[in-house]
């Protein structure tokens, strides 16, 4: 028998109570990213940008470009095992480093040695992983840079946990985690963003959308309107920014870090940029993308964009350009010289850090290697 068939007043008794009015837990509108990547350079807003900041960014970008070129050359010469270059992405790398205070933490991926160097890490130490003499060439605590992370997206939960721990302790420390567009497909990306939002952790996620995950274009990675839109589903703001506009990147990152620091919670930033080089020196990009596409992006080069602004405003002349180039050259010469020296290796290190207290089994194996090395030495 249906409700309609019930006679008169009895019908009311059978009508189900309506559910309570449904309210979204968070208003999604303020979380939404802009429709277009946020830009400063080439817009009216550029005129009010601080000249000192522009010049600092310029010097860092020029140095970063030179660093990438030098590391690439060293790889060709066999001095590095592999180099994932961030050429074309310098504005993001430098922006990430400059956004943080000393006490903050950076969680870089394998592509982000430049961010680590811009944060103050010794370039040789930053490149240790890629040279192949050890996995991490620096003490993470010294500059508060977590080990360069290769298993994609796995560094993101770490950043959330560290930020959460800092907040529990009452420290106003922010963690900045870096990841590529492809990495956002991994489960750890989802889990990290969800934890961050639920815990209101002081963490900023910077996605460098450089168009590709090795050969796979973004279109095969996601059907979302943008990667920044993913933020809304977690209840955090998403920001879309032109990743080749150093001033815009600096501003957006700065706002997100400040927001995290004052207890406002996490932000997801998608920086739209482009990987100008192949995935690594071992990759052949001609197999999956046209040179013409690369050329299109060359016209939107982060250094050129900034240089144009500086020149237009009369803040940079040939002398200034040369000074920046010269400083970069000095850094490169120093890096070259130091990387051309063979690293001093002790094979016994293989057993030194597996456990805090070496096991009897490892002592046995260490003795075996020691005997082999001694015999090798004797035979020489």
């Amino acid at each position: 028998m249906t409700v309609q068939e019930l006679p008169g007043s009895a019908a009311a008794a059978y009508r189900p109570t309506p559910p309570p009015a449904w309210q979204p837990r968070t208003d999604p509108a303020p979380l939404l990213p802009d429709a277009e990547p946020y830009r400063v350079l080439g817009t009216e807003a550029a005129a009010s940008a601080d000249p000192e900041l522009l010049l600092r960014l310029y010097a860092e970008l020029v140095r970063g470009r030179r660093y990438n070129a030098q590391a690439t050359a060293l790889t060709k010469q066999g001095r590095l095992a592999v180099y994932p270059s961030s050429t074309g992405q310098e504005a993001c790398e430098v922006g990430a480093a400059l956004a943080l205070e000393d006490r903050d933490w950076l969680f870089p991926s394998y592509r982000d040695t430049l961010a680590a160097v811009a944060r103050g890490l010794d370039p040789v130490q930053a490149l240790t992983l890629l040279r192949g003499d050890w996995h991490t060439g620096y003490d993470p605590h010294v500059h508060r840079v977590a080990p360069l992370c290769t298993p994609l997206a796995t560094q993101l939960p770490h950043a959330v946990g560290l930020a959460h721990a800092a907040r529990l302790k009452g420290d106003d420390v922010v963690a900045l985690a870096m990841i590529g567009d492809g990495g956002t497909s991994e489960g750890d990306f989802h889990e990290a963003l969800n934890f961050a939002a639920v815990w209101n952790a002081p963490v900023v996620f910077l996605v460098q959308n450089n168009g590709f995950a090795i050969s796979v274009p973004l279109a095969k990675q996601t059907a979302a309107p943008s990667l920044a839109h993913k933020a809304v589903g977690y209840g955090m703001p998403g920001r879309l920014v032109d990743g080749n506009d150093a001033v815009a990147v600096h501003e957006v990152l700065g706002e997100a870090v400040a927001r995290a620091r004052r207890g406002g919670g996490p932000t997801l930033i998608e920086a739209v940029t482009y990987r100008m080089d192949a995935h690594t020196n071992a990759d052949d990009a001609t197999r999956y993308r046209a040179d013409s596409e690369v050329e299109t992006w060359r016209a939107h080069d982060p250094i050129q964009l900034l240089e144009r602004e500086l020149t237009d405003r009369g803040l940079l002349d040939d002398e200034g350009r040369q000074a920046a180039a010269q400083a970069a050259e000095t850094m490169a010469a120093n890096l070259r010289e130091r990387m051309n020296a063979d690293p001093v290796l002790d094979p016994m290190d293989l057993f030194a850090h597996v456990y805090g207290r070496q096991t009897a089994q490892l002592r046995e194996q260490a003795a075996l290697l020691r005997a082999e090395l001694d015999a090798e030495e004797e035979a020489r």
């Binding site: 003499d133 996995h135 492809g182 995950a213 050969s215 796979v216 094979p347 089994q361 490892l362």
Partner: protein
């Protein structure tokens, strides 16, 4: 086809050909993974498959190993035969949940009602100068999981035959490809492929009378070289290529050890809790009265895989194999 016409092929090419032939014969075979389509895989093992069969048959997936294997489970449920590629050994770990909780035990959970004809291809092992997470030997994890076959070729011919057999298997196979042998060559013709052997048969690569080297995958060439070098010392070594760790060919292995009376297990994976422990125990249990010496193991050290500049100290080489052979209590025999 005459032998003269047979050109050398690499292991990578033989693997590609195995997938190609399987796809041509069976429309339910689907290849999927990261960069397997347009690029043809970072090792070019799937080169040309997307072009020949279309992107629905050879698919660049989103970058998520759990998703790749999880969706393969669903595809298998609906009658497809997925061949998934994990880009590197250590990047298969996000897929562990799907592998251990579903792929391995679906047949058992459903009392045989639902099989999982999935091949999980995993490039594994070191010796290629890879930076961290690119050189793991993870076979012990897979071996320890009931429901999975674990197969690994050491020759170009076997790469073809074993991959065909794995794809044809109605049970899931973790197919471990020794990445430093990808570019190894042999005169091999896909037009006259070796008979496709069922999974689970070891093969004697070199016969000898003094002792047996039990090995697989990347360590097979090392053992062959060691056997050659051992001749100068007066040892005539037999080399058994296991080819399949699960199922394990007790018959071939024990027949060899009973004949020689001595055995050394050689692999790159760590020794402690590694495959060699299981192998040595099985041999001891079955051949005890034929053994002249304890079964020894030569393995990678019990350490995280080292950085490229130190990996030569870690990898079991010819000298370590010969040292182990020397410790097989020869004095007692004379």
């Amino acid at each position: 086809m005459t032998t003269a016409a047979v050109k050398p092929a690499t292991m990578a090419q033989a693997l590609q050909r195995a997938m190609r032939d399987a796809m041509a014969e069976d429309p339910t075979v689907h290849v999927m993974g990261e960069d397997v389509g347009t690029l043809g895989g970072v090792f070019r093992v799937t080169d040309g498959l997307a072009k020949e069969f279309g992107e629905d048959r050879c698919t660049d997936t989103p970058l998520a190993e759990a998703g790749i294997l999880g969706t393969a489970v669903g595809m298998a449920m609906y009658g497809l035969r997925p061949v998934v590629e994990m880009q590197f050994d250590a990047f298969a770990y996000p897929a562990f949940e799907q592998l251990i909780s579903h792929v391995a035990r679906m047949r058992n959970r459903t009392r045989g009602g639902m099989a999982m004809p999935i091949t999980v291809r995993v490039p594994y092992g070191g010796g290629i100068g890879g930076v961290e997470h690119h050189s793991d030997s993870s076979e012990a994890y897979y071996m320890a999981t009931p429901g999975l076959h674990v197969v690994t070729p050491a020759t170009v011919e076997d790469a073809y035959g074993l991959l065909r057999a794995s794809i044809a298997s109605d049970d899931p196979v973790v197919f471990l490809e020794p990445k430093r042998l990808y570019w190894s060559k042999a005169k091999w013709s896909p037009d006259a492929p070796a008979a496709v052997e069922p999974i689970g048969r070891a093969v004697v690569r070199r016969s000898g009378r003094s002792a047996t080297l039990l090995t697989y995958g990347p360590s097979v060439p090392v053992c062959m070289e060691a056997a050659q070098a051992a001749e100068a010392e007066g040892w005539d070594l037999e080399v058994v290529d296991l080819r399949s760790l699960v199922p394990f060919d007790d018959e071939t292995v024990c027949a060899s050890v009973r004949r020689t009376g001595r055995a050394v297990v050689v692999h790159e994976s760590t020794g402690f809790g590694g495959p060699g422990g299981e192998i040595a125990a099985r041999v001891t249990e079955r051949c005890f009265h034929h053994l002249e010496a304890p079964v020894l193991r030569v393995a990678g050290f019990d350490i995280p895989y080292p950085p490229p500049m130190l990996e030569r100290h870690h990898l079991p080489g010819v000298d370590r194999v010969l040292d182990a052979v020397a410790r097989l209590q020869w004095e007692a025999a004379s």
